[in-house]
């Protein structure tokens, strides 16, 4: 975990409001797992005051680059989108605990379920699983076909089902609808996306190992401010809570209560 002024090698729009940002630096060497995130100071000035948490979407250890995919929403991501190649960006990371890879064996099948801006961390996960010889199936939900990104990249790694709210892709509906229809045979499911989606997965797919990546508003992102906690499901748990930033953002289904 370091705070590094990383070099921007790319920052381009890849879908409406969606940007792909690649930065270079030593921080990359420290990344242990897919699903970890970084905390970014988006401007060199005072505003916006707080950093922004963004998941690591992919890494290239050779070029010491990591890629982030973010959606322009408020002032922070807007500011980030205006930063240019060649600039340096103060980045704290890698943070948190990602998706476990040792819960699944070579030859088995993993289903990766993503919704919207929850899709990015699944890409590095999928690469890592594939490298381990695990079969990957992606079920990715977007608002419309126009909003999708990284479809090709996911298709190169395994079967990829794109689901859209408006039916502009082949599947219309939610990823939950798609999963029901597909009725996949798999050993482990990994998911990242809006909390209602995660809750629905927890409801319907907890019979097999299910790992969920959570989002929460953050202050410090290192476990010091208690901004990002959630209750454990186990009421006898010694602490009774987990911090999304340092204990998560990935939790096994059933470990923490989803707040929605």
């Amino acid at each position: 975990m370091i705070n590094e002024k990383m070099l921007i090698t790319k920052n381009t729009c890849i879908a409406p409001k969606i940007y792909e940002l690649t930065v270079q630096g030593d921080l990359v060497d420290l990344i242990r797992e897919p699903g970890q995130f970084v905390h970014i100071k988006v401007s060199d000035g005072t505003l916006p005051l707080l950093r922004r948490p963004i998941s690591i979407a992919s890494i290239n250890r050779n070029t010491k680059e990591l890629t982030l995919i973010y959606r322009v929403d408020g002032v922070g991501t807007k500011t980030l989108s205006l930063r240019s190649q060649g600039d340096r960006l103060e980045i704290l990371g890698p943070l948190g605990h990602g998706f476990p890879l040792d819960v699944i064996n070579q030859g088995e099948t993993a289903v990766l379920v993503g919704g919207g801006i929850g899709v990015p961390p699944l890409y590095e996960l999928s690469k890592s699983l594939s490298k381990k010889g695990i079969k990957v199936i992606h079920v990715l939900g977007f608002r419309t076909l126009e909003d999708t990104f990284y479809q090709k990249q996911f298709e190169e790694l395994g079967k990829t089902v794109i689901v859209t709210d408006d039916g502009s892709s082949k599947f219309k509906g939610t990823v939950i609808d798609a999963l029901q229809l597909l009725n996949l045979n798999y050993q482990v499911m990994y998911a990242c996306g809006p909390t209602p989606m995660l809750a629905a997965l927890e409801n319907g797919y907890s019979d097999k190992p299910l790992y969920l990546s959570l989002e929460e508003r953050m202050g410090c992102a290192v476990g010091a401010c208690m901004a990002c906690v959630c209750h454990t499901v186990d009421e006898d748990d010694e602490k009774g809570y987990r911090k999304v930033c340092s204990d998560g953002p990935v939790f096994k289904s059933g470990e923490v209560k989803l707040s929605c």
Binding site: M1, N3, T46, G219, A224, Y241
Partner: protein, 303 residues
């Protein structure tokens, strides 16, 4: 040129992380040596473990942030047995912040906490705006604050600092009341009560609705209050509210602070405290000052 001595706190330098922004030190200890710090103000401790408020607990504002953590902490016993144990290898003084719902809670927690060899002074959080029962009243009524201070002083083995709320009409009256009641020092300021509304959901961003405003936005309020209070009490003030760099520390000393605490800025830059400590000597040299203490209250004179 940086060492300062306050009741119970023999500090290498006047910079400490502020309570609630540094947990019990472990996390930031991964970034730098905690021995570099002048002191550490640990997260508010209460009698029982508390989970705190529902999330979202933080929101951003222009040059500030709102928090409604709600005093989440594992309770005083757990802190004594675990969190403070972890700090045993470090020789930086500890300012143990305590909070409660009732006078008895404070007294219980203060007594326990003050007996720890690792605790050098107590900081009474009478001003946390995020606790429904009690919290706010202690901090806004001078008589109640004074009564609480007296009770805690009576059981504490170490000096007691009272952390004042800025959400009052008369901060000087408040300060004098707790000084008279025996406070050994003051911490100021805690957060201002604020709120932000999410235009999309049309609801307050914080689940708790209101929260405490901190960061550079509140610095002028902190400076004004410290300027006024420091000229009207004889106990030292640990100043805080929006400190981000060495210049800010100097502004707080000029206003009348004897030491400072850094809260929100730790989230902006985890190395903020050690960086400030590193920059201070050069700043003092530029100002032709041999020791930072010389700056204390220099702004008081007539213009």
């Amino acid at each position: 040129m940086l060492n300062v001595k306050l009741p119970g706190l023999d500090m290498k330098n006047p910079v400490m992380p502020a309570s609630g922004c540094f947990s019990f030190g472990k996390e930031y200890g991964d970034f730098f040596d905690l021995n570099l710090l002048g002191a550490i103000a640990i997260k508010s401790a209460t009698k029982e473990a508390r989970f705190g408020n529902p999330t979202p607990r933080v929101a951003e504002t222009t040059a500030g942030m709102l928090n409604a953590i709600g005093l989440q902490n594992p309770g005083v016993e757990h802190i004594l047995d675990h969190e403070l144990k972890d700090l045993e290898g470090i020789d930086t003084p500890i300012l143990a912040n305590i909070a409660g719902k009732q006078v008895d809670d404070y007294v219980y927690t203060a007594e326990k906490m003050s007996q720890s060899p690792r605790v050098n002074a107590l900081e009474l959080n009478i001003s946390c705006p995020n606790v429904k029962e009690g919290g706010i009243t202690f901090g806004t009524v001078p008589e109640i604050a004074a009564h609480l201070t007296e009770k805690v002083k009576a059981v504490s083995d170490v000096p007691v600092y009272v952390k004042l709320s800025p959400n009052v009409s008369d901060i000087v009256g408040m300060a004098k009341a707790v000084e008279e009641a025996g406070a050994d020092g003051l911490s100021m300021i805690n957060t201002l009560m604020g709120m932000r509304i999410n235009l999309k959901t049309q609801k307050p961003i914080l689940a708790n609705k209101a929260g405490g405003l901190s960061g550079p936005a509140i610095k002028p309020v902190a400076i004004r209050m410290i300027y006024e209070v420091s000229q009207n009490v004889n106990i030292p003030i640990i100043g805080m509210g929006g400190i981000q760099d060495a210049d800010d520390v100097i502004e707080f000393f000029l206003a009348g602070a004897s030491a400072v605490a850094v809260g929100t800025a730790n989230f902006v830059d985890p190395f903020c405290c050690p960086n400030i400590i590193k920059e201070l000597p050069e700043k003092l040299k530029q100002m032709n000052v041999d020791h930072i203490d010389e700056l204390r209250g220099r702004s008081w004179g007539r213009c």
